[in-house]
């Protein structure tokens, strides 16, 4: 429980930094930090599906936000801090490689997948009814498929709404975007 508390405090600090910092790019980076903290929290709570989705969506949003803000203001200085920069880079590389080594060593043998956790939890019913070892996927797409249908409808409606809102400006640009719909 301690690690989750630490992670939550970390997320809160990142959020406070995000709203109190002056320039836009730092705020975007702080938002990204809080998102990745949430991803690690999911991982610590043993929800790998959510962690993967959170990670990927966070990367996508971060790329779009950075792409949208990178040209606007750039009070960026690389001179005079080469020692700290190099030190931080080396520490990050060491942590990354060490953790990657540990994680790769703890993977199961190639060819013997067997999700032990789900086999323990599902025991009988899900395996007999669905034959899917990923319990989250089985619940998402089979037992509670109505929820997923509503979710997909919401996403679809959001995208179509944004397309309809942005259509005129898209048409004005020389390379034709979003011609129909």
């Amino acid at each position: 429980m301690l690690e989750i508390n630490l992670l939550l405090i970390f997320i809160i600090i990142a959020a406070i930094v995000a709203i109190s910092v002056k320039d836009l790019l730092s705020a975007v980076v702080a938002v990204g930090v809080s998102g990745f903290g949430l991803c690690i929290t999911f991982l610590a709570l043993k929800a790998p599906d959510l962690a993967i989705t959170q990670l990927v969506v966070e990367i996508l949003c971060l790329i779009i936000l950075i792409k949208a803000t990178i040209r606007l203001d750039l009070p960026f200085s690389t001179s005079g801090r080469w020692f700290i920069n190099t030190f931080v880079t080396l520490v990050f590389l060491a942590v990354f490689l060490g953790y990657g080594y540990m994680a790769l060593m703890s993977l199961p043998q190639f060819g013997s997948p067997i999700m032990k956790v789900s086999a323990f939890y599902l025991a009988k019913e899900t395996l007999e009814k669905v034959h899917a070892t990923n319990l989250v996927s089985a619940i998402n797409l089979n037992f509670r498929a109505y929820d997923t249908l509503g979710e997909a409808t919401a996403l679809f409606a959001a995208a179509v709404g944004v397309m309809a809102l942005m259509r005129k400006r898209g048409k004005k640009s020389p390379n034709e975007g979003e011609s129909d719909e």
């Binding site: 790998p48 599906d49 993967i52 989705t53 990927v56 969506v57 990367i59 996508l60 790329i63 779009i64 792409k67 949208a68 040209r71 606007l72 750039l74 960026f76 200085s77 690389t78 001179s79 997948p113 067997i114 999700m115 395996l127 009814k129 669905v130 034959h131 899917a132 070892t133 990923n134 989250v136 996927s137 089985a138 998402n140 797409l141 089979n142 498929a145 109505y146 997923t148 249908l149 997909a152 409808t153 996403l155 679809f156 995208a159 179509v160 944004v162 397309m163 942005m166 400006r169 898209g170 640009s173 390379n175 034709e176 975007g177 979003e178 011609s179 129909d180 719909e181």
Partner: protein, 156 residues
Amino acid sequence: MNNNSGMSLIVKTTTRLLVGFILLYGIYIVLHGHISPGGGFAGGFIIALSYILFMLAFGKDEILKRIPASSIPFLESLGALMFLTIAVLGFFGGYFFSNWLPKGITFKLLSAGTIPISNIALALLEVSLGLFGIFLVLILLKFTPPKNGETNEKVK
């Protein structure tokens, strides 16, 4: 290489080597959604991220050449309609969303009835959403570079 859109040669070469593997990993996550963690949502976004990497490295002309912007609504509608069709086809098994396909053997790729197909449908939806995000950035949020020349290199 010669055109100035996109990043440097190192980034382009690395991207050319990596993009296929990222795409393959996304497809793997989608297809194994019923066996291992992942599924349509995560895998679809990974596939979209491979295209985003391509876009960041090569500039927007290359990706607009490969994926026309008019294909995004098509992909999105295809995903949503596919998911709905799976749901309606459940009436073969008796009720809406019933898992009527043969279940197969546990831990095999072709098992679990309709779940892999639903994963693929959701992945199509997510891929189109991710690509739509790119085109939103590329087309709608168009930035004019500042008039006094370069921005990044000047600070040094």
